[in-house]
Subunit: 81 residues, 2 copies
């Protein structure tokens, strides 16, 4: 494994793990802007496409997990408003 | 410019732009966990190192801007508690 990949995995783990409490806390989705969250989700999908194009596992894995977590918040927002 | 780089720039712009209203709204930093925010900041720095190692401009630029934005929130948290 290359050193850059190790740094990538540390990065992916840190930003993903720190995102989880935010997901748990976000029971009230009223404070979230639907427009800004849509832009964010498009961004995550673009990072995923970019990671696949570069064939870089840390980018791909981090963005699949973030997409699942933020996708859940997005659905809660759509359902509960 | 490679197609992957264009996707990277769209990704970087989307996730960074959607982060800005969150920074503006975060006047009350009491709701932020210092531990989780520290983990997040370490993650951003690791993504930056990873981007530099891969020599990928979208990763480098996105994480420098995110580091400045989230670094500002972190300092506000330290100062105001």
């Amino acid at each position: 494994m290359e050193i850059s990949t190790i740094f990538g995995y540390i990065a992916a783990t840190s930003t993903t793990v720190s995102f989880i409490p935010q997901v748990i806390k976000t029971k009230n989705t009223k404070s979230i802007s639907l427009l800004m969250y849509s832009v964010y989700l498009v961004g995550i999908i673009m990072w995923l496409v970019y990671g696949i194009m570069l064939n870089e596992a840390p980018i791909i894995i981090a963005n699949i997990i973030t997409l699942m977590l933020s996708g859940t918040i997005f659905i809660l927002k759509i359902v509960h408003g």
